[in-house]
């Protein structure tokens, strides 16, 4: 049992230790969120602010480009996350029990694009896809498709961006899955082998169920990462052609820093904030339960 004075001292020590982190947290995260909610109900012109209630939200929902951005973002999230989780599971399940050097080669070659960043990868892809002198356009021409401009065509621009984003970012999911699968108890595989299970059974009946917490984690971090997809849009398409690849984050950025519609941009931010919060609930719940 501690003395009362001790407990008091312990409280003060605790607060002092968390103080710097909490101060920065309040200043640069909590306050911006609250301020964002407030700004979303104002019309802002440089220094003057006028309360307009939910007008900004009404404007948003009557803007076809906002809807386009919303739908595109949902399409990106669904396809990129499905591809990422599916492919990463396939890769990890196939390589995790092979020799260490092979595993580290696979891990490295899928993770290097993550390391060199979306900016650099977008620049390379923009060169590869360039209609005049890109390698992919050259191949398409050789194969008899004639002049192709994959990024300039509203039908092909979405699949191309989905592919580029997926190929650049899948490495992280692969690393997580490999680590999770190496952690699955060996006796489970031995038991399965005794029962005469083949590789496919092992993957579907043992591996996939065992790594479910990782699947949840990977799904959520990827949803949130794709939700704010921006770099690849800005560097590859600029939201075009004709807004066919515009996303929420790109729309928000344009409203805030190009059209000076700070109220509308804040409203987009609030909507994205609510989506993010909603999506992270299952993950947070499992993390809090864990402790």
């Amino acid at each position: 049992m501690r003395l009362r004075g001790n407990a008091f001292k312990e409280n003060i020590t605790g607060y002092l230790f968390i103080f710097p982190q909490m101060l920065i947290f309040l200043l640069f995260l909590v306050y911006p969120i609250l301020e964002g909610i407030r700004l979303s109900m104002y019309q802002i012109n440089y220094q003057s602010e006028k309360f307009v209630g939910f007008d900004n939200y009404i404007t948003l929902f009557s803007d076809p480009i906002f809807f386009k951005a919303l739908i595109n973002t949902v399409i990106f999230v669904v396809f990129i996350v499905l591809l990422t989780v599916g492919f990463a599971l396939f890769v990890a399940a196939s390589v995790f029990d092979k020799n260490a050097r092979y595993v580290s080669f696979i891990r490295g070659s899928y993770y290097i694009p993550v390391m060199v960043s979306m900016v650099v990868m977008s620049m390379v892809w923009s060169f590869l896809l360039n209609p005049a002198n890109g390698l992919i356009s050259y191949f398409a021409q050789e194969a008899g498709f004639g002049y192709v401009n994959l990024l300039g065509n509203s039908k092909s621009v979405m699949p191309v961006i989905i592919f580029v984003t997926f190929a650049t970012n899948v490495g992280q999911a692969i690393i997580l899955y490999i680590a999770a699968m190496i952690g699955v108890p060996k006796d489970l595989f031995e038991a399965a082998e005794v029962d005469g299970a083949n590789r496919w059974h092992v993957i579907t009946k043992i591996l996939i169920p065992s790594v479910r917490p990782s699947t949840l984690y990977i799904t959520i971090i990827n949803i949130i990462a794709v939700l704010k997809i921006f770099v690849v849009i800005q560097l590859l398409t600029g939201g075009g052609p004709n807004n066919s690849s515009v996303t929420l984050m790109y729309y928000l950025y344009n409203n805030a820093f190009k059209f000076n519609q700070l109220g509308t941009a804040s409203a987009v931010g609030v909507i994205m904030f609510l989506i993010t919060l909603l999506l992270s609930v299952p993950q947070l719940r499992s993390m809090i339960k864990q402790k």
Partner: protein, 286 residues
């Protein structure tokens, strides 16, 4: 059809290995294919302006030139950009480690009132990207007079909960008895933290350093918005402006992108082990 009759003849054990083998061949093929854009980036940056757009392309550069790199450093403040990136990533990361380790230690070891509720609220922000609050965040940074300054790029990075989340896991796995013993020996909380506990969680700090450094280095939108003057850009933002540069030479653009990519490639090759460690330490434990 012959394939089916063949697979029927082999024993189940054999077929299973074939499935595994085919999967691994596909995976290796894609792994190499996935590296091709980087190969193309590097070789294109070494070609001259006419070779780089030659069709059919040169798979290996025939005349190797470094003129594109010289051009990047001569016509752009690329050294300054590199310094900015190093400074912003380095300082952000050191700050994240200092304030994060203190908070993580308190949440893990010290019993203070309201600890759990504060922790839950704080950790709930783990998944919220700063970019979605970019308008109010920009206004705050503007009020502090930190637009066009490296300070403005740094502080919002320190607000995130990831460092605390990761380090708390490491503190949790150290025995409480250690802290008690230090206290009995007369060491204050600060000395216990600095001299006993911090050295124990060094692997966690190492993982956090690398993960956070890379993350800030590769950050884009926030740095772009804050660093508006040409000399206040970071390497990623500055490099991206080469895409809109009037110079139509693709080799020049690729040289810029290579300059931006190389530091991270080196870090990855040197610290691959820490990456795997850090990324998985941040995830759920099975």
């Amino acid at each position: 059809m012959r394939g089916i009759s063949m697979t029927q003849k082999v024993k189940p054990k054999k077929r299973l290995e074939r499935f595994d083998m085919i999967s691994n061949i596909i995976i290796t093929f894609f792994a190499i294919l996935n590296l091709f854009p980087l190969y193309w980036l590097l070789t294109s940056s070494l070609k001259n302006s006419s070779d780089v757009v030659k069709m059919p392309p040169d798979w290996f550069p025939t005349t190797i030139t470094f003129s594109n790199y010289i051009e990047v450093f001569k016509s752009q403040p690329a050294l300054r950009w590199t310094y900015n990136s190093l400074f912003v990533s380095g300082v952000s990361t050191v700050l994240v480690i200092i304030v994060g380790a203190m908070a993580a230690y308190a949440f893990s070891k010290i019993n203070f009132k309201g600890k759990n509720i504060i922790f839950v609220i704080f950790i709930s922000s783990l998944m919220i990207p700063k970019e979605i609050m970019i308008v109010p965040l920009f206004r705050i940074v503007q009020d502090f007079g930190m637009v066009n300054s490296l300070n403005g790029m740094i502080w919002p990075n320190v607000a995130t909960a990831f460092g605390v989340f990761l380090l708390k896991g490491f503190f949790d796995s150290t025995p409480d008895a250690l802290r008690e013993a230090a206290r009995i020996d007369g060491a204050g909380e600060w000395r216990t933290f600095m001299q006993i506990m911090l050295p124990i969680v060094k692997p966690g700090i190492g993982a956090l350093f690398i993960l956070n450094f890379v993350q800030v280095w590769n950050d884009y939108l926030w740095q772009m918005v804050i660093g508006q003057e040409k000399t206040m850009k970071t390497l990623m933002v500055g490099t991206a402006t080469l895409m809109q540069d009037l110079n139509p030479n693709f080799a020049y653009k690729m040289a810029g992108a290579t300059v931006a990519a190389i530091p991270m490639l080196i870090i990855f090759i040197l610290f691959q082990r820490y990456f795997t460690q850090g990324i998985t330490a941040g995830a759920v434990k099975e």
